[in-house]
């Protein structure tokens, strides 16, 4: 590679837009976050410094604790659920038929369409009352009708089901591309040695897919942890606080209760937790794998 050909000016002018925009809208706000988290601030007035009070207040806030629990359950079930379904399906679609090609195209649609649209579709399909489509089918086989997203006991499982519907196609195709990359010789050799399908899967395929699974988990961890658009459209965190996941909690605190200082403290705590989790998953996930680094 050649050095900058004396025209340092070009380098500066090519990079300065990025440096300006990123400092102004990503790194400066991040610095502000740390400051705001130590203040009492309602978004519009001058922030008042109050030390660690926001952080202390959070851990005595029942809803914050509940939100942490809900978010953890949500993340674990959605990620594990989509990866499990993805693993099964990636084997199912690994065949040269037209149906398999069609499946590959169709399962990606929920992932591509906007969150708000997918959520709107679910609220239509699971409309409460006897005129709802799913309710009608259920009552027909004698299972009764439900309020789905309006039912305090059902709303949270429904959000989880929705998210798996939205994500499983992505997981499937990522894992499928991983399976495609495994050299056929490995499987053939194992078959010649008389290994069972199950053994081939657990001893060869799964370990080789490990880096891919780590990739899926870590790239989706952040967006799952702070899930917001779909929850806002489907339940707004309700009924009551039944679906008050972290993204919803922070939004409500900042923009509804106008406790922006408290909200930034919550956002910082959660960001640190997620980043530690991502680092942990990477360290554990890649170690010892066949592609071990």
């Amino acid at each position: 590679m050649p050095k900058v050909r004396g025209d340092f000016l070009y380098l500066i002018s090519f990079l300065s837009p990025v440096i300006i925009v990123f400092s102004l809208f990503y790194y400066y706000p991040l610095a502000l976050d740390f400051y705001y988290s130590f203040t009492d601030w309602n978004l519009l007035t001058t922030p008042k410094f109050i030390g660690f009070e926001n952080y202390l207040r959070l851990f005595s806030d029942e809803i914050f604790i509940k939100s942490l629990v809900l978010t953890s359950v949500y993340v674990i079930v959605v990620l594990l659920g989509s990866i499990f379904i993805g693993l099964v399906l990636s084997f199912v679609i690994d065949r040269p038929t037209k149906l398999a090609t069609l499946t590959r195209i169709v399962i990606f649609i929920p992932y591509v369409i906007p969150d708000v649209a997918a959520a709107a579709i679910w609220s239509i399909v699971f409309a409460p009352g006897p005129s709802g489509y799913v309710n009608y089918l259920l009552s027909k086989i004698g299972l009764g009708t439900y309020s789905w997203f309006l039912d305090p006991n059902l709303a949270f499982p429904m959000i989880i089901a929705y998210s798996i519907w939205k994500y499983f196609g992505f997981c499937t195709l990522v894992l499928y591309s991983g399976i495609k990359a495994i050299p056929k010789e490995y499987i053939e050799a194992a078959k010649v040695d008389g290994a069972s399908e199950f053994n081939i899967f657990t001893r060869i395929t799964l370990p080789l897919l490990r880096p891919i699974i780590v990739f899926v988990t870590s790239t989706n961890l952040m967006s799952c942890w702070f899930v917001f658009s779909s929850v806002y459209t489907l339940t707004k965190g309700g009924p009551g606080t039944a679906t008050m996941v972290m993204g919803m909690y922070i939004y409500e605190q900042a923009f509804k209760s106008m406790k922006a200082g408290l909200a930034t403290a919550a956002a910082i705590i959660n960001t640190i937790v997620v980043l530690l989790l991502v680092i942990f998953i990477h360290l554990r996930g890649y170690r010892g794998g066949l592609y071990g680094r």
Partner: protein, 283 residues
């Protein structure tokens, strides 16, 4: 024996695939039929699985009552196009610099750009709101645009693409006396046409889908982008039955919203999935 087992395996696989396709497709079918039903028919028990009478009631409602979907559609289109254009321009400048030039702090700067993805959106929107209040951009589409005008992914993508272009092309042009902007826009850009396609589609979709920040920044209906209007259409109540959302209006608005996405998906489907999987990131 092994043959029979494989046959059973094939049958089970086919059944699974059909079930999965139905689970994905049926909700879309229900969306379409709901969009064309009249409100009394939507409330009917038992529900109809094909509209008895096609109406455009929902579409008319979202044009007149609470939130004009056409206006929101144009807002979304303007913001997404502007974001796509500026990202394409500024990110390829940066991508070119990262790919071709050698300078101090290059790697550090590149990592700083990509680290954007370590920050969740919700941690940024709170200080953004304060900044926009100071700039007087609350309830202004410009506030959506300026925070999103350069994309980190696009920088990463153009950098890797330009790195693959043989250095000789660039050197030859330089020897002929071409300036750096000429090299980038007249020599490299024509060579990266497929990459530009990917960049345009991805950035457009991300902006088209963006919900959180527009929801927070925009307050008045005439400024809403499409996803915000969709989220509020639910609260346009149908005649007679109070508190029952007019699902026909919701369905029509949603249909208008996803139609460009679905069409785009089927046109560019070949590389689309691959591009999405490689990034693994959704705005």
């Amino acid at each position: 024996m092994a043959d029979r087992r494989r046959k059973i395996g094939d049958i089970i696989a086919n059944i699974i695939m059909v079930v999965v396709i139905l689970i994905v497709i049926i909700p879309f079918y229900l969306l379409v039929i709901t969009a064309f039903k009249s409100f009394p028919e939507i409330l009917r028990v038992p529900p109809t699985f094909f509209p008895q009478k096609f109406t455009l009631e929902g579409f008319i409602l979202i044009r007149t009552h609470g939130g004009d979907v056409v206006r929101s559609f144009i807002n979304s289109l303007v913001v997404a196009s502007a974001v796509t254009l500026t990202t394409l321009f500024f990110s390829s400048l940066a991508g070119y610099a990262f790919a071709i030039y050698r300078f101090k702090l290059k790697e550090a700067l590149f990592i700083a750009v990509l680290s954007k993805y370590l920050l969740p959106q919700i941690i940024l929107v709170i200080p953004w709101y304060g900044i926009m209040a100071k700039l007087g951009l609350i309830d202004n589409l410009l506030g959506i645009f300026i925070v999103d005008m350069i994309g980190a992914w696009t920088i990463y993508y153009t950098r890797s693409y330009i790195s693959q272009i043989p250095q000789d092309y660039i050197d030859a042009a330089r020897i002929d006396g071409a300036s750096e902007p000429y090299v980038l826009f007249k020599i490299i850009w024509p060579m990266m046409k497929p990459a530009i396609g990917v960049i345009v589609v991805m950035n457009f979709l991300w902006s088209w889908n963006w919900f959180t920040w527009p929801l927070i920044l925009l307050h008045s209906k005439q400024n809403f982008t499409l996803p915000i209007t969709i989220a509020f259409v639910k609260y346009i109540y149908g005649g007679g039955a109070e508190s029952v959302p007019h699902w026909g209006a919701v369905a029509s608005a949603t249909l208008i919203y996803i139609l460009p996405v679905i069409i785009l998906y089927f046109i560019v489907q070949r590389w689309f999935i691959e591009a999405f999987i490689r990034t693994g990131i959704k705005a």
